[in-house]
């Protein structure tokens, strides 16, 4: 049982999206989910249910979308969400060393949040930066051609 509700503003934004004719289901869902994640840092259970109520899309289908895309998380996350690309080009460019450097420095694994709530680290699939790997995404910002030193330097900038 959840007692929470979406903020009036997000609700209105989603309602407006769902009133748009000819907006493909996929776009409606993705835009709404991005907006929710931006607001809460993750996709809360109640938010999926409200999204389903507003759009008429089955709750389980909303849940299916959320679980399909690594960008969405159903658990509360750290202040900064850090994604490392794990797809082939970035892998060959040395993503393992990057990830090791990060894990050693912060003492948590991929998919976990640092105890101080500062970062959540996770893997994602190709981000279209294949020629500039290894690549990483922090709060929507991409960083490329990482090295173990460079990645730690960048992360230090995020409080």
């Amino acid at each position: 049982m959840s007692t929470n509700e979406l903020t009036r503003q997000i609700k209105e934004e989603i309602e407006e999206l769902s009133r748009k004719r000819n907006l493909p289901r996929h776009t409606l869902l993705m835009n709404s989910l991005h907006r929710i994640q931006e607001e809460y840092g993750y996709i809360p259970d109640f938010a999926m249910q409200e999204l389903s109520e507003i759009t008429g899309i089955a709750p389980a289908e909303v849940n299916a979308y959320v679980s399909f895309y690594h960008f969405f998380s159903t658990e509360p996350t750290g202040r900064h969400k850090v994604w490392f690309c794990r797809t082939i080009s970035c892998h060959l460019a040395g993503k393992d060393q990057i990830v090791k450097a990060v894990q050693d420095r912060f003492g948590v694994k991929m998919g976990q949040t640092t105890p101080d709530g500062r970062f959540t680290f996770a893997f994602t699939n190709c981000m279209g930066m294949c020629d500039k790997g290894p690549a990483m995404l922090i709060d929507g910002e991409t960083y490329t051609k990482l090295t173990p030193e460079k990645v730690l330097e960048i992360l230090e900038k995020y409080e």
């Binding site: 049982m1 959840s2 259970d45 109640f46 999926m48 249910q49 389903s52 109520e53 899309i57 089955a58 709750p59 389980a60 289908e61 849940n63 299916a64 679980s67 399909f68 159903t74």
Partner: protein, 600 residues
């Protein structure tokens, strides 16, 4: 004229309408193509690839169920490549399938098991998992999920969202991690599941089954201190034969009575008796609403029009969750099952001089949601649990077999009295539109003093499988004394079956499009009770059609065709209940509803 395309399939030249799928073409020509995720009631999923075929000129194999024929082509369904790929798919499914056929409810009626036999898989080509990955979810009232037997065909997902507009089943994750489960992997009891069991009917395996009541019923039957009565609903009689190899639509009413006696039931009663009571109560209630509008000048909305039927417990939970603002329009009349239950432990117990505490009240239903209904706290008006156990058609079939009874070859026998006589009107409750038709027969008679002006009393516009029906009856020209205000009115009745259709109807109501409709009948299951979630698997439009025919055929031959003609109903009111909507009727035969949260 539709555009035609020339095709060849296994060398046979033929012509098809453009857009026909390869599977449809194959079926038409009696060419067998194995399928798993495809289902005649559901949109295509293309999820399992069991149905692959070879198309000349195409490098990869194509899924026959989701490949529309748009240009000339050459199709092969039996090549070595096809055979090997299908075997591979099956072997991979078996690898991750944890279950023992011998102890599975679907043993002998499982599509996965049948395919494994057909393909001669005498070995696990890719090994076999033996450890369970998941636990069984039996938290619900009606349905049990065993995800280790699930093959991710998504039939249940499509059923729950597309047919039932509930949408609590879906897929999570992707690739090898993909699994079909509930919203946020909650226990089924915590979800919005309405217990309809439609997902069970379409599941090809034993991953979805009903909650078992057979052990409890056996125990009661074996207890010499218990007086065990059973009421049987109309829909199971038209379907139980399927479990014994008989064609769909074989009416088994009287043979079933014999089987139940052999099993040890003390009395065998007919739910149609209380269906007739439902009509008397619900009809009277509707007429009172009409009086409020046409005599007292109340608005239709205030008076609770259109009246909405309340005999389908899956529908009740659905409306309580999704359209609670319309609960005041719902008839307060209990379903026939629950009216019966309330009478068994009061009227019947008194009449027979049996302590109600020693009565075990069992019902045979086509429905899994009835298992939930009998557990509702409101359903104890007799002072006891009005209905103790609900058996589905499938469960009774299994019990009859377990008892070593050869149902098809039994002699026929009658129901017991005093609750063993129902009219044809009570009987047709089993088909979509049937409650509305039964009500129309009786209400027309009360208002005009004459029978409904339809050949054979058959209100044809209310019949058939169209998702939403809005039927207009003839204008009321002549009225019985006291009903003059109904003169000149053209009654309209709306009917929906399957909850996605009910949703359409509710949205029409909301939009003010049903202004002149008097009453709305909703049944949660496609086809009505005859397509209930406790009926034999498989299901398809043809199977449901055959069951429907059997029900209407039986109606035609019954001595009483209208609820108000049933002498037992009169006797019940005279001896015990008083009058429809009277004090005792109100206590025993009516109920109330609750607004339920939509949040899981």
């Amino acid at each position: 004229m539709a555009e035609m395309v020339n095709v060849r399939i296994n060398g046979i030249e033929t012509e098809v309408e453009k857009g026909t799928t390869i599977l449809q073409l194959a079926r038409k020509l009696n060419i067998y193509v194995p399928t798993l995720c495809a289902h005649p009631d559901l949109r295509q999923a293309g999820a399992c690839r069991m149905c692959v075929v070879e198309v000349k000129g195409m490098r990869t194999l194509q899924s026959a169920c989701s490949f529309p024929i748009t240009s000339e082509m050459d199709i092969f369904t039996t090549t070595a490549k096809v055979r090997k790929v299908r075997r591979d798919i099956l072997a991979l499914l078996l690898k991750n399938h944890v279950g023992e056929c011998q102890t599975c409810k679907r043993n002998g009626n499982c599509e996965l098991q049948r395919l494994a036999a057909e393909f001669g898989l005498h070995d696990y080509l890719y090994g076999k998992r033996t450890e369970r990955r998941y636990s069984v979810d039996d938290t619900g009232y009606a349905i049990v999920r065993d995800p280790d037997k699930c093959i991710n065909c998504k039939r249940c997902v499509r059923t729950c969202s597309d047919i039932q507009a509930v949408g609590v089943l879906g897929t999570l994750y992707r690739g090898a991690d993909t699994k079909v489960t509930t919203f946020m992997e909650k226990n089924i009891a915590e979800t919005l599941c309405v217990n309809c069991g439609q997902c069970i009917n379409r599941c090809p395996t034993g991953a979805l089954t009903e909650k078992d009541a057979t052990s409890a019923v056996w125990e009661a039957l074996e207890d010499p201190n218990k007086h065990v009565v059973i009421q049987t609903a109309p829909a199971p009689r038209a379907a139980i034969g399927e479990l014994f190899g008989l064609p769909a639509g074989t009416s088994m009413t009287k043979k079933m009575n014999t089987a139940l006696r052999l099993m040890g039931f003390d009395r065998i009663f007919d739910t149609n008796t209380s269906a007739d009571l439902t009509i008397m109560e619900e009809g009277t209630e509707l007429l009172i609403k009409l009086k409020k509008v046409y005599i007292e000048g109340m608005s239709k909305d205030e008076a609770g029009l259109p009246g909405i039927t309340s005999c389908s417990p899956g529908w009740i939970k659905w409306i309580e969750q999704f359209y609670p603002e319309y609960l005041p329009k719902l008839s307060t009349a209990k379903s026939p099952q629950q009216m019966f239950g309330a009478l068994v432990k009061t009227y019947y117990a008194q009449k027979m001089g049996i302590d109600p505490a020693n009565i075990v009240s069992v019902s045979l239903m086509p429905c899994t949601a009835k298992k939930f209904e009998c557990e509702r706290p409101e359903m104890r008006d007799s002072g006891y649990k009005d209905v103790d156990y609900v058996l589905t058609t499938r469960e009774l079939g299994a019990m009859i077999k377990e008892a070593g009874i050869d149902l098809p070859n039994l002699p026929e026998s009658e129901f017991d009295s005093p609750l063993g006589l129902g009219s044809g009107a009570g009987l047709i409750f089993g088909a979509t539109g049937g409650v509305a038709e039964a009500a129309a027969r009786t209400i027309w008679y009360i208002v005009t003093g004459e029978n409904v002006p339809m050949k054979n009393l058959e209100v044809v516009p209310l019949r058939g499988f169209e998702g939403v029906k809005i039927a207009t009856l003839p204008k009321i020209e002549k009225t019985a004394p006291g009903w003059e205000f109904m003169k000149g009115i053209v009654p309209k009745i709306a009917v929906a079956h399957g909850l996605a259709n009910a949703k359409k109807l509710m949205d029409m109501l909301k939009a003010g499009e049903l202004e002149d409709v008097f009453c709305i009948e909703v049944m949660a299951c496609p086809g009505g009770c005859l397509g209930g979630g406790g009926q034999p698997q498989p299901t398809s439009p043809e199977i449901r059609e055959a069951r429907m025919k059997a029900i209407y055929e039986e109606d035609r031959h019954l001595p009483y065709r209208q609820s108000h003609e049933n002498p037992y109903v009169h006797q019940l009111y005279e001896e015990f209940l008083g009058e429809p909507m009277g004090e005792l009727s109100h206590k025993l035969l009516h109920t109330h509803y609750c607004r339920r949260s939509r949040r899981m």
